[in-house]
């Protein structure tokens, strides 16, 4: 394997590794076969595994996710692709009412080991219906695990964990990160869901970020270091399970918290995280909490407008400065 791998290649590599070790892993989705996916995140899978394991579907999100559920209940480990995470709304019944509830409402009689992968997030000028960060939609439903990796190595490690999980996992692949590069992980690399990573240490302020907001937070931390402000950056990696232990431990060191969320302020994942901090970590805090989030408007098209809505390094730097001075 090459010295570096892109996030995009890591998606296909992560799936391929699991398909090699487990014949019950099968893929389905729109344009994922010979075409390799509209984002080329399944490139090479059809060639290696053939039509028996990589299935092109019609544009039928309900059939895709519903069929994945039926297959998962009967011995397979399907990996379903929903092309853009905005389209999860087209099959929301399955993610809100069916998949997360069937185990519970049958008294544990059935298991649903499936992954729904989807291209998530903005910053690429796709407009209001192809740009949303929708992890927080899934966060409203008990019974779904939620993965949102920020690096190629995590894509592979978390894909392994997601596919091997006996629970349903919604796996958010960030469109803005697809071209980013990183070192390829060793064979059988598994990153358990629910383990956040402290990706930069610092003594003054904790930044908690997810997916594309992790590099934004790291860039902000670098700039703030030049001002003498030590920023610790926590990459949450998954929203369910939510690794509050790592967040609270970091606050024990810094006493100040800023969340960096691409989703809108209203109903964003940071609200849940901050409520746990308020409940269980209030005594750790020396300052108010700030949430740097997407604005509460639909995603606009033009760059000049989109950058008003999605969190930027400048906004994060300003939030951290205000807290450091508190």
């Amino acid at each position: 394997m090459a010295d570096v791998i892109t996030y995009r290649e890591a998606v296909a590599e992560g799936i391929a590794r699991e398909m090699r070790r487990d014949p019950s892993v099968v893929c389905l989705g729109e344009d994922i076969g010979a075409a390799g996916g509209v984002f080329k995140t399944t490139a090479g899978l059809h060639k290696e595994f053939g039509s028996e394991r990589v299935w092109d579907t019609p544009i039928s999100e309900q059939a895709i996710v519903g069929a994945a559920m039926g297959a998962a209940m009967t011995g397979m480990r399907p990996v379903a692709e929903i092309m853009f995470s905005d389209f999860l709304a087209c099959c929301w019944d399955y993610l809100a009412n069916e998949i997360p509830k069937v185990r519970y409402m049958t008294g544990g009689q059935v298991t649903v080991p499936l992954v729904v992968r989807t291209a998530n997030g903005g910053g690429l000028g796709f407009g209001a219906q192809h740009s949303q960060a929708t992890e927080n939609w899934a966060l409203t439903v008990p019974g779904l695990k939620i993965a949102a990796p920020a690096t190629p190595a995590d894509v592979i490690g978390m894909m392994a964990a997601a596919i091997r999980s006996d629970d349903p996992v919604v796996f958010f692949e960030h469109k803005g990160l697809l071209a980013t590069k990183g070192p390829p992980p060793p064979p059988d690399h598994v990153v358990d869901l629910g383990r956040a990573a402290v990706v930069r240490e610092g003594a003054d302020v904790t930044l908690v970020a997810l997916a594309s907001m992790v590099p934004v937070a790291l860039t902000a931390a670098e700039r703030l270091a030049q001002e003498g402000i030590g920023v610790e950056v926590v990459d949450l990696r998954s929203l369910v399970p939510l690794d509050m232990a790592t967040v609270l431990a970091s606050l024990g060191r810094t006493s100040r918290l800023v969340t960096v969320e691409e989703n809108p302020y209203q109903g964003g994942w940071g609200a849940t995280l901050v409520s746990v901090v308020a409940d269980e970590g209030f005594g750790l805090l020396d300052a108010p909490v700030r949430r740097v989030t997407g604005e509460c408007v639909p995603l606009p098209f033009a760059d000049a407008l989109e950058e008003q809505v999605i969190p930027t390094v400048d906004k994060v730097v300003a939030a951290v400065r205000s807290l450091a001075a508190y």
Partner: protein
């Protein structure tokens, strides 16, 4: 059909009818909370189809699904205990009337979002094809489901992938309270849609268990042979309203009378007479059904409620409900 098999079919239908009647009565006594969607009148579809299936075939049903659970091996006691919120219920009282499931016999659930389970049945059939097991998946649904997107997505995908799945519509003429004919562009809500997906669409008397059995057996053979899915529209009628709160006054009296005279149990009794089964055998079957259901009611009444801690089990495959560290 052999007389013994016919009698067994009849007895299973009688068991379902009596269980539904018991569910109705228990509701009126305040022992069943929430709602119920009784399947009295629909018995021949579940029992006739089941007689044509292999034991390991997959069945997916709707919130009107008591008959399917019992046709696929759930006991009246398990079902009634579930309705009565008892620990001994089919789903440990975590599902209720609308979600009866018996995974041990591949009765993979009753779903209460109209049409949602058709794609699941497609997925189970896809899985059977991938694993080469020769299993079939069957989705039973009401006429109302034929106007929801998941129905159409499921039929198309099943046809394109040529999957071993049967779609069985229980057309009882009403989508909840509204005549299905008033809200559907074609006369046959299910069968008339089949040509659009290039699959067979047939109509059968859903109150005649033998006709249902024969038709499903033929369509199942075809599907197992690799010739793909089929859509069967079984005509039937509800003996009760849509749900517990519905007296079904919107149905014309003469229509109700006509259908009550076309009762699946009466039709099966006629078949038994034709087959030369002595009347006392039928009476014995009725008596067995009566006594099984009475014992089921007593057992369910005496069963304990679920342990409150069960509210926090089985969210995840590890048995727990933890969402954070």
């Amino acid at each position: 059909m052999e007389p013994a098999a016919l009698l067994a079919l009849y007895e299973r239908m009688a068991l379902i009818r009596r269980t539904e009647k018991a569910a109705h009565d228990l509701f009126l006594q305040g022992l069943v909370k929430g709602t119920t969607h009784l399947a009295a009148g629909h018995e021949a579809i579940a029992v006739g189809a089941s007689a044509a299936l292999r034991d390991d075939d997959y069945v997916f049903a709707t919130y009107r699904g008591h008959h399917h659970a019992m046709a696929r091996g759930a006991t009246p006691e398990e079902c009634l205990a579930e309705l009565m919120s008892r620990a001994t219920g089919l789903c440990g009282a975590k599902g209720g009337s609308m979600h009866l499931t018996k995974a041990a016999t591949n009765m993979l659930g009753s779903y209460a979002i109209v049409g949602a389970h058709l794609p699941m049945a497609v997925g189970a059939a896809w899985s059977a094809k991938l694993r080469g097991t020769g299993q079939l998946a069957v989705a039973f649904f009401g006429d109302g489901a034929t106007n929801i997107g998941a129905f159409h997505e499921a039929l198309n995908l099943a046809a394109v992938w040529k999957l071993p799945v049967l779609f069985v519509c229980e057309n009882n003429l009403y989508m909840e309270y509204t005549p299905i004919a008033d809200v559907t562009a074609v006369p046959r809500p299910a069968a008339d849609r089949a040509p659009a997906y290039g699959i067979p669409g047939e109509v059968v008397d859903g109150n005649d268990a033998v006709s249902v059995q024969e038709t499903v057996a033929r369509l199942a053979r075809r599907a197992r042979a690799g010739d793909g899915p089929a859509l069967l529209e079984a005509e039937t009628y509800r003996h009760f309203g849509h749900s517990r709160s519905d007296p079904a006054t919107y149905r014309p009296a003469e229509e109700v009378e006509r259908w009550l005279k076309h009762d699946p149990l009466d039709i099966a009794r006629g078949r038994l007479v034709e087959a030369g089964v002595p009347e006392e055998r039928v009476t014995e079957a009725d008596e067995r059904a009566r006594s099984v259901v009475q014992e089921a009611v007593d057992a369910a009444k005496n069963a304990p409620p679920p342990d409150p801690r069960e509210a926090f089990t089985d969210v995840w495959a590890d048995g727990g409900a933890a969402w954070r560290t």
